[in-house]
């Protein structure tokens, strides 16, 4: 086994095995799955049923606090917290006053000694004018400064995002495939440019092979994105600018394959398809990167149309340990598959 020749194939397999195992088995941070009702009213006894995810409320020996965060400095502590089981709580917020006018939503925060702190933002705060709640004036929990006790449970765990939950693991597959695709598209661009310069048959085969793998990865990226969309947005496809632009980019690349099969003469085919490949790459950049991020576009897709980009809380450091190796592993796998195609083409050409 010639290690120098095959090192990247072994690396690809090992890295992708690590990505599959770590990506599927590392647990999620304890989080809040839902609160029922998701609103709090002024002048009423707010009984909130809280459901946690990956939590162990029953094992915290009663050290469970529930807070309504109004901003980074102040909040309201729940007066009564009943632990029903490991994943269910009931918290009572008797509010005998009006919420501050400038704050339409608050963040629910659950802190337990065993699980650390978890938050669920966007709990609506409604100022009701019900006279029945007037009896609570003077007998309710006040707005106080937030204490300094909140911590995150230590250990390697992926972030818990509302709506995404476990599907955040798709970052290692869907997003990584697109990143690998861009890298392989760049490689095919380089070979196409070399082909235009040198008119070497082997360079042409390499360009075609890498472009085929680019298309394959792009189609897999769209397919995995579609599956993810079903779980996160409820539909397999939507009229979203990022989705449409990515589809257009892949269609342009698919036309490359049709172009190659349309030209019989080998030299001409090499030249024309190399030129088209350059166009396809240059078209892909604004289609996928620039247009979806323009101001005033509306998009569901993270990173576009006013949404925060992939980063911040969506790309936790915990995710990076699996995300970056996934990109590298997929690139190496793509190079391996492309290499096989190149060798097949060379062999077929030799026999002619």
């Amino acid at each position: 086994m010639n290690l120098k020749k095959h090192w990247y194939k072994i690396a690809a397999v090992l890295i992708l095995l690590y990505v599959l195992v770590a990506g599927l088995l590392v647990p999620l941070k304890p989080g809040i799955y839902s609160t029922d009702p998701p609103i709090l009213r002024s002048y009423s006894v707010n009984k909130i049923a809280i459901e946690g995810y990956n939590t162990n409320y029953a094992q915290a020996d009663g050290n469970v606090e529930v807070w309504l965060k109004l901003d980074s400095i102040q909040g309201i502590k729940a007066e009564n917290v009943t632990v029903i089981d490991d994943n269910h709580l009931e918290a009572t917020f008797p509010i005998g006053y009006s919420f501050p006018e400038d704050r339409p939503t608050g963040t629910l925060l659950v802190h337990s000694a065993k699980d650390g702190t978890a938050v669920l933002p966007n709990r609506k705060l409604i100022n009701s004018t019900d006279s029945k709640g007037q009896s609570l004036i003077g007998r309710s929990t006040p707005i106080v400064a937030l204490p300094d006790i909140f911590f995150t449970k230590p250990g390697w765990q992926f972030p818990f995002r509302p709506f995404l939950h476990e599907t955040i693991r798709n970052t290692f597959f869907h997003v990584a495939i697109w990143m690998a695709m861009f890298f392989l598209a760049t490689v095919s661009l380089v070979y196409s440019l070399l082909e235009l310069r040198n008119h070497n048959y082997l360079t042409d085969i390499k360009a075609a092979s890498f472009t085929s793998i680019t298309i394959l990865y792009g189609l897999i990226g769209i397919a995995t994105g579609s599956l993810w969309a079903k779980t996160a947005w409820g539909v397999f496809w939507t009229a979203d600018i990022k989705l449409n632009m990515a589809t257009v980019a892949i269609l342009i690349y698919l036309a490359y394959l049709i172009l190659r099969s349309a030209i019989q003469d080998q030299d001409q085919r090499a030249r024309v398809s190399a030129a088209y490949n350059v166009f396809a790459y240059v078209a892909m950049i604004p289609l996928i990167f620039v247009i979806p991020r323009l101001p005033d576009t509306d998009s569901l897709h993270p990173g576009n149309g006013g949404n925060p980009a992939l980063g911040g809380e969506d790309l936790d450091n915990a995710l990076r340990y699996v995300f970056y190796p996934s990109i590298i592993g997929l690139i190496l796998l793509g190079i391996w598959i492309s290499n096989l195609r190149i060798r097949v083409e060379s062999l077929l050409n030799k026999e002619r």
Binding site: L17, L25, P27, Y33, T231, L340, E351
Partner: protein, 69 residues
Amino acid sequence: MRVRSTYLTIFFALISSNIYSQSSLDFLRSTGKIYAVAVGIVIIFLFIVFYLVRLDRKLSKLENESSNE
């Protein structure tokens, strides 16, 4: 290499149906089935890898034969 998207399909079908039916627990993990999912996917991936290795070896053999003729 559509096989890769096939096992992704299976995986997400398992995950997505459970997210909406079982609201409280990390269902697959709590019943220990996540390990079955992980092992299954690793096995499918290894099948793909062995197929690629087989192709690679076949190609090397053909190349050696054609260059020795």
